[in-house]
């Protein structure tokens, strides 16, 4: 029988250490909504999403009450709109129309983000993919809850450098069009290499084309819980350190597994995966950077950071994998800058640089995430950063992503403020030397060889 100490431990994790389920995300296939007429497509999409996900908010709230564990976000991901809109969208405005429909669904269903305004272009862009990508800045301006992602590289296909170049320009334009809100549009736009199609986290969630009609994916959280557990083993050897992270990850993930199964039952939608990610928030004590400090660094970004993050990421996976019957998505430690108070501090005092963050992305689950850079950063430089990050993902057979905010009109020393889960960020300096001639070459970087590993 469960004892009083175990009950107290769980409730303390929730009350004091920010344990929560970060998101329940319903993935919905929109392939059945396709038509030649864009208005019909919009109508089909609205009907399908508001039918399939109509009880999402209610079910999430019920689960919160029953188990006493907060579920911070209820979200929806859909089939990449670049595919759904292929036969109906003839102009950028047509794609924006679909984005607005998605936004309306999010409002109606009380979900805080809807992801899938996306294109998968790792091998090449169809006319419709290109049109969708070009419509992103306007779509981000005109909508509140829609998230957009573009997958432009993979280990099997190489990197589509035409898309890399285009995305540098799209990110800049998005920053300009949403300049009144500190270029907030860029916080809802991410580029990927090796994007997983069952990721429940935003901004990169979309419902894979090989997925079922609808699916429940759950993203867990819990940096605060890991941090508190590590405080009790301060100064201990690496074996003890790793065992502690593993055991904590197991407990957190078990909560995620239960929530996923319960949500699946309540909504009568199959359970997809649990994403084992340590997802920070700007709240005090809910920081991945603080864990790195607890492991033994003065600040995130200090020498040793990459190694500490590598072990953290690996132990989270080792502990979590046994706790859930299906693991997927991004699974690992997230290192967004603006969403993590410890990261913000480290960036502000100069301990953490863009280059160090790039190194960190080689060993953790995502990439250069929520990093504000000067508004006058050239589009080609942004494309260069994207290409670097995509190369890391391509060669190392892992997911990498870039979510940069070239905040319009801001320079190093300024701050951008997004509020809520998206937090705030100091503008970080970017290498001033140009990569324009590199980015202007057209075509694709071929897929890497996977023998002769060095």
């Amino acid at each position: 029988m469960i004892n009083i100490w175990e009950v107290e431990e769980t409730n303390r994790m929730v009350a004091e250490e920010n344990l929560d389920i970060r998101t329940i995300t319903i993935g919905i296939s929109l392939l059945s909504c396709m038509d030649e007429n864009v208005d019909t497509v919009c109508e089909n999409i609205y009907k399908k999403i508001t039918t399939v996900a109509k009880d999402l908010y209610k079910a999430g709230s019920e689960i919160e009450k029953e188990y006493g564990i907060p579920i911070v976000n209820k979200r929806i991901s859909v089939t990449p709109i670049g595919i759904v809109g292929a036969s109906s969208c003839k102009t950028k405005e047509d794609f924006v129309k679909i984005a607005k429909t998605l936004d309306r669904c999010a409002k109606e269903l009380n979900v805080n983000f809807i992801g899938g305004f996306s294109a998968l272009v790792q091998e090449g862009m169809t006319d419709s993919d290109k049109l969708l990508i070009e419509s992103i800045p306007l779509a981000m301006k005109e909508t509140e809850f829609v998230c957009s992602s573009v997958n432009l590289g993979s280990t099997k296909d190489g990197i589509n450098m035409d898309a890399v170049k285009l995305m540098g320009e799209v990110i800049k334009e998005t920053a300009f069009l949403t300049k009144d809100t500190d270029s907030l549009g860029c916080a809802k736009l991410v580029v990927f290499c090796n994007a997983p199609d069952n990721n429940p986290f935003m901004a990169g969630a979309f419902h894979g084309v090989s997925g079922a009609e609808s699916i429940i994916n759950v993203g867990i959280s819990g940096p605060g819980v890991v941090n508190t557990a590590l405080k009790s083993v301060r100064g201990a050897d690496f074996e003890t350190l790793c065992e502690t992270i593993k055991k904590t990850a197991l407990k957190i993930t078990r909560a995620g597994q239960l929530v996923a199964k319960t949500a699946s039952k309540k909504l009568n939608i199959p359970f997809g995966i649990v994403d084992l990610s340590l997802a920070p928030t700007p709240a005090v004590g809910d920081s991945v950077a603080d864990i790195l400090c607890e492991i033994g660094l003065e600040k995130a970004g200090a020498p040793g950071t990459t190694a500490a993050l590598a072990l953290l990421n690996d132990q989270v996976k080792k502990g979590g994998v046994m706790a859930s019957s299906y693991v997927g998505g991004l699974s690992g430690a997230f290192i967004p800058v603006s969403e993590d108070r410890g990261m913000i501090d480290a960036a502000e005092c100069g301990a953490l640089t863009l280059e160090k963050l790039e190194a960190m992305t080689c060993v953790c689950s995502v990439g250069l995430d929520m990093i504000a850079i000067p508004g006058d950063t050239p589009a080609s430089t942004i494309s260069g950063i994207i290409a670097d990050e995509a190369a890391i993902g391509m060669v190392n057979q892992k997911t990498t992503a870039v979510r940069l905010i070239p905040a319009y009109g801001k320079k190093v020393g300024d701050t951008v403020l997004f509020g809520g889960l998206l937090g705030y960020a100091p503008i970080m300096p970017v290498n001033k030397y140009s990569c324009e001639a590199f980015v202007n070459r057209t075509g694709r970087i071929p897929a890497p060889i996977h023998s002769f590993k060095n």
């Binding site: 469960i2 009950v7 107290e8 769980t10 409730n11 029953e66 407990k251 909560a255």
Partner: protein
């Protein structure tokens, strides 16, 4: 069996257990286990109960206990036991 865990945390006072148990018995809720500690005048109690024969639904029990807690000045939580079983038992 519909197992729930009821926890009471707050400043110790007369009749906390009595009030909770009276309510549970009125609703035909069986108590399977009780444990209790007092640390620095703070009362900490946990009950394992079975709601399968209860005349009240889970949400109703949760609300009623919350109100009883507010009357006495302690915090009473009612959660389904599965969350603890999942987290602490493999």
């Amino acid at each position: 069996m519909e197992k729930v865990i009821i926890t009471v945390v707050g400043k110790d006072t007369v009749g906390i257990i009595a009030k909770v148990c009276t309510y549970l018995s009125e609703k035909n809720i069986n108590i399977l286990d009780i444990s209790q500690t007092i640390v620095q005048d703070y009362f900490n109690m946990m009950m394992v109960c079975d709601l399968s024969k209860s005349s009240e639904e889970f949400a109703g029990v949760q609300e009623a206990l919350d109100n009883i807690g507010k009357d006495i000045g302690v915090e009473i939580k009612c959660q389904k036991a599965e969350i603890f079983e999942m987290m602490h038992r493999v």
